[in-house]
Amino acid sequence: MTLTVLLSSPADYLPVAIMFVVAMGFVLTTIFVTHLLGPNRKSKIKLDSFECGIESKDNARVPFSIKYFLIAILFVLFDVEIIFMYPWAVNFLDMGMEGFLKMLIFLGLLFNRLLYILKKGALKWE
């Protein structure tokens, strides 16, 4: 334990404070200045949430099938798990056989879950 505690004084946080002021200032200035400079036309079309040539219709809050949600969440799960393969691939040679076996176990568990999902019928669309 050769770690020493760096005692910090409030002055050390000055850059953070300046950054905060700059960030807030930029946002506030742009909002304020656009109000001053821009022409002020208020019509129904101008106030629409999407004003890009295509007429908007209906409410955004329509019910949609829960299956989309399930598939999206499963995609995210498997996508995130696969990220573990990148650091493993980079260090593949250093980790040797042990690393390979560990990855096999991991992929085996992942495959087990995929089988489970298929068996449970989570991906059936009907």
Binding site: M1, L3, N112, R113, Y116
Partner: protein
């Protein structure tokens, strides 16, 4: 370490049972697997060994608590057999319970703050799911939502605390933190103490100590009864095991800072839990408040920071888990019949089923702390530890709130023995009756062998 692997393997096996069609044998497999894991764990006794770059340390403390957790889970599986029969996706529930047990065991054997966090999250996330597992019941959904919201918030506090401690010490390792604090007792920066307080807040929430207990009654009440039983026993045991391990090893050199906080919270928790329990009409809700009160008693042993508090906490948790499981086995039968769990439902049980009534009484007396049940000795050793550390006021408060506790535990006993009814609307027979007798008898037997258990650690 092997126990964690065994139990995780069992969890995966439960998921595989859906794919390879051996659901029928799964229940027996889980019981055998848990028994094997308990055996493996006991074999490792007296061989303190550290795994994974010192992230996991299997010492006697870890083994004792893991064996307790696994035994309680084993009993829990026996108790909730009927629940698994009625459930369509039984193997998923079994898998989640086993993964939760994995997390709980990680919380007993961590020697690294990141491992504590991992264990806590594995346990908590499994519990969030299980609370909402009665999908069509609004109360169950509410309980899952509340637990998740509050739990996530508390985890934030815990993480922030870990981050601050790391910021000062530069290590997650418990021994490193302990050495560092030991060497720099007098010039620790303020943020170190802030870290301790944040850790305390996170853990107080997990053990449902006042004033962080508001989630407990609603969550316990809304969750399916067997899941509530699991939460009240396994989750609480794991949280206290982690709490003691963390504070007794890491921060023992700055104990003057945190024992007063814990003592005050303990007093508040005991009083709040016991007083609020008196006003409950639903037995399940009453037990939820009583579990809050029990958390208060165990916190007393934490505040005592003596060599004897380890054994006292262990004994108390055994006694508490046993009687809680016994009572919840009965509540489960009542809820399966869709009866209201008002105290009056117990009216006349002593006439229709004297054995069951006697066993429920034993469980209640054990919880109330009446000799010679195990619960009494649990309280006795905790009070002794607190007295030896000079917390006389705290012990007085505890005795006072125990008296309040006796009042509401006896309400059920009174209903069973003096109720006018000849029969009850529910029947206790078969496995639940066996289970009830088991927990009653064990409560008495453990009451006889307390010396052995307390000196084990």
């Amino acid at each position: 370490m092997n126990t964690i692997v065994t139990i995780a393997g069992l969890g995966i096996l439960s998921m595989l049972s859906e794919i390879f069609h051996f659901k029928k044998q799964l229940f027996v497999l889980i019981l055998l697997g848990l028994a094997a894991a308990i055996g493996i764990s006991v074999m490792e006794w007296d061989t303190a060994y550290s795994y994974y770059n010192h992230m996991v340390l299997i010492d006697n403390y870890a083994i004792a608590f893991s064996v307790l957790l696994m035994s309680v889970t084993l009993l829990w599986f026996l108790m909730s057999q009927s629940y698994f029969k009625s459930e369509s996706s039984m193997e998923a529930h079994a898998a989640i319970i086993l993964f939760a047990l994995c997390g709980a065991i990680c919380m007993t054997c961590f020697s690294d703050l990141s491992m504590l966090f991992i264990g806590l999250e594995i346990l908590s996330i499994s519990m969030y799911v299980l609370c909402g597992s009665d999908k069509l019941n609004k109360r169950s959904n509410e309980s899952a939502m509340k637990y998740f919201m509050m739990g996530a918030f508390a985890t934030g506090f815990l993480l922030f605390g870990i981050a601050l401690i790391y910021g000062v010490v530069g290590s997650f390792n418990l021994t490193d933190i302990a050495t560092y604090t030991g060497q720099n007792v007098n010039n620790l920066p303020m943020i170190f103490y802030a870290g301790i307080v944040l850790l305390l807040v996170g853990l107080f929430f997990k053990v449902s100590a006042a004033p962080f207990h508001f989630w407990a009654p609603d969550v316990y009440d809304g969750a399916p009864t067997v899941i509530t039983a699991f939460m009240a026993t396994v989750v609480k045991t794991a949280a206290f095991a982690a709490f003691y391990r963390l504070f007794a090893t890491c921060f023992s050199s700055v104990f003057t800072f945190w024992i007063d906080i814990i003592a005050i919270v303990a007093a508040l928790t005991m009083l709040a839990g016991n007083i609020l329990a008196v006003y409950q009409t639903s037995v399940k809700r009453m037990l939820a408040y009583s579990s809050v009160a029990h958390a208060g008693y165990i916190l007393m042993a934490l505040a005592a920071v003596s060599q004897s508090s380890k054994g006292a906490i262990f004994l108390y948790l055994i006694a508490y888990s046993l009687s809680t499981l016994g009572v919840f086995a009965v509540l489960n039968i009542i809820h399966e019949k869709k009866l209201s769990d008002d105290v009056s439902v117990f009216n006349g049980l002593a006439k229709s089923n004297p054995l069951a009534a006697a066993m429920i009484s034993i469980c209640m007396l054990s919880m109330a702390g009446i000799p010679p049940m195990a619960g009494f000795f649990g309280k006795y050793y905790i009070f002794l530890a607190a007295l030896n550390s000079g917390f006389t006021w705290l012990v007085l408060m505890a005795v006072l709130s125990s008296l309040i506790g006796v009042f509401y535990y006896f309400r059920i006993v009174m209903a069973m023995y003096t109720g006018k009814n000849e029969t009850t609307a529910f029947e206790i027979k078969g496995l639940p009756l066996f289970f009830l007798v088991l927990s009653g008898v064990l409560s008495v037997i453990i009451g006889l062998g307390t010396n052995f258990i307390v000196n084990l650690l």
